[in-house]
Amino acid sequence: MCEYSGRLIAWLDGELPDEEATNVEWHVGQCVECRKAVSAYEEVSGAFLACYEAQMVTKPKPHPWRWAAAFSGLAAAAAIVAVILLGQPPAEKLSFHPPSPPSPALAPIMAASTRIPVRRHPVAVPLHRQWISEEPVVEVALPADALFPPGAVPKGFSFIADVRFQQ
């Protein structure tokens, strides 16, 4: 075995002092056995690096309270829509009570008053959708003991701060 074989990996990693690195570099240029070994170390190190970089790091799951807030927002929007729709005088019910024939002069006014305005797109829904789709840019966990005096908060509680940047 070549006397330089024990220094090849450190040389590849740039961990040898300059003078020693120069010697190893010169030797590798001359020695077929060491060149072959260096090639094998490079290949296996590259494959290991590929495995390391392939480690999937998933995004943090949204916290339950965030989903609860989102769903409560949607529920509130649905409730608003329901109130708007149910709060209007039902058109079918009016038709059961045939009105006395209006005079021709009042006909346009009557037609306008029986028209039911329907809001198809409540304002609250797009706002909540936008809020749900936002991902936190930075999420910082703060232990409760950093914010409150000892004993003020039950053990095990912590707080999450989402930091978002606006364009």
Partner: protein, 179 residues
Amino acid sequence: MSGDSLSWALPLARFRIRDREATTLFRELRKPLLRYLVCLGLSPDEAQDVVQDAFLSLHRHLSSGGSQENMRSWLFRVAHNQARNRQNSYERRFSSPLEDGVEAVLDEATPERVLLEKEKFQRLGNAIRTLAGAERECLVLRASGLRYREIGEVLGIATSTVADIVERAVKKLAEKCNV
């Protein structure tokens, strides 16, 4: 400038510098730390928690006037120790997700590359399984871009020992992979 305003300005300036350094470190090291912890066997959620705790510790460390030398190895050491504490508290062994990385590499590759390299990566996966814990940790920290000195600081061992472990581990992989 009065003496009072000067005495306030200096600590504030130092705070801004520390804050900027911490932000830079966060951007630079968050992903490598997460990968390292996942390679150690933590779940992604656990890894996120540990990284957040590590940066919180960094903030406390800098706020209390702690040393700003070797911050990379400092952060990896804190994350490493917290991961070990979690392992001990839950009394479970770390899994070996690096072998799963082999499958992920093949999943992302083209069909031709899969045919060519499948056998090679399968051999690598088998070879990684044979590594000792210290060998695996050294190789993962090396893949994270840490120098031998920094790896030694993270694991609490001498730089020369790191060199020996890395050499042994790489040679073992090369031999088992038959490259």
